[in-house]
Amino acid sequence: MQVTEYKPKIVAFCCNWCSYAGADLAGNNRLAYPAEVKIIRVPCSCRVNPMFILRAFQRGADGVIICGCHPGDCHYTSGNYYTRRRMALLFSMLNYLGIEKERTRVEWVSAAEGAKFAATMNDFVQTVAALGENKRLEDLRCKL
């Protein structure tokens, strides 16, 4: 009998200017990270609406990570500062509701940090995989 290893579903929102380019750089340098990570390109991390994150969990994502330019380096000068506040409050709220806090993360990855991107994704996938399936914030109907 073959036991299929549990593979978490990870949604990564990456800003176009830094983190998406960082992910590209990881690719250029052939720095491997798990295939469970799927990237959605957004112009800026501040485009990420908390509703998208909840949507991902509803649809069965096990972890959501948002990557943007380092604070101070935002292509739009201040976008990631707003992201930082929004996600600080959202994550704290999810934690308050008893959702495992390890399932959400914000990481600043510059266009030069391909290695950091790969390392972050490796770590995040490992952390989420250790938690197992997202049972607390999923909508079972989606699995029909």
Binding site: M51, L54, L89, S92, G98, E100
Partner: protein, 331 residues
Amino acid sequence: MQALTREVLLDRAKALFADGTVDRAYGWKRGEFDYDVTPGLFRSVEEMEKEFVFDDFCGANFSKYLVEETRKGEGKILVFLKPCDTYSFNQLLTEHRFDREKVYAVGIPCEGMADVTKLKAEAAEGIRSITAEKEGFVVHTLYDGDKTVPRTEGLSERCLVCKSKKHVAYDELLGEDGEVADSARFDEVARLEAMNADERFAFWQRELSRCIRCNACRDVCPACTCETCVFNNPNSGVESKAPVTSFEEQMFHIIRAFHVAGRCTDCGECSRVCPQHIPLHLLNRKFIKDINAFYGEYQAGAEVGSRAPLVNYTTADLEPGEAVQRGNEHA
């Protein structure tokens, strides 16, 4: 017992009608029983003399009604504002939701409003009448005689942890203005924070699973004045009419709390109206508590035009990871 009587408010309203300052007035209307006071719009002194009431059951906040009503008619609207109502009033002004010129606001002191459910719990079946006495609320029951509920046990939770007796907006003030209180309103949030994640999840699962999606919390909320609510908008991706799964209950309440984060004045109306008694204010208060801890004290509605924390930032804000940690340490 309130510091001001119905007559004081009524006399002032009469004078304002008489000198043409206002042509309609928001006030509380007498109900069937002692406790079911209805917020209403009065168009004349006569209507007010007949039905206007002011007592311990006048919890309703009129601020939200001004959004629609100020768009009608030319005259000014009289509105009575308790201290907590003034915060909602200011917050709506900050968001340009109504024309200040169309309103004549009379600040009135508040001694806390009764929670009918608490009083009803005393008289399991049948309340003949309720009177507010010095020693507390005296509930005259149908079957079990009179029961006295000490005032502190009959008041709404939001009044027991009242954040402010100070009016932050008014054209005139009746009675004395109070102070911003050093309230214990975050104690319950801290108690939840001290639990572990499983306990918290169980708590919220238990509470939120009772939700019937009647939308009363949203529809009464003075911060929820959107022209079209995302939950009514089929294109928003979150529209839903019923709590189909436990996910949707959580989703509705998380999104709603997030949408009003930084704008919620903690008026407590959401929990007051919930037919299922879900402590919804504990969601909003968590955001307020976090905002205070992370970004410095901020009271929505304290001043008109203030920049809400979610549309603001500093370069030294803490990271989301630290925020979760701090939120956990119930700092």
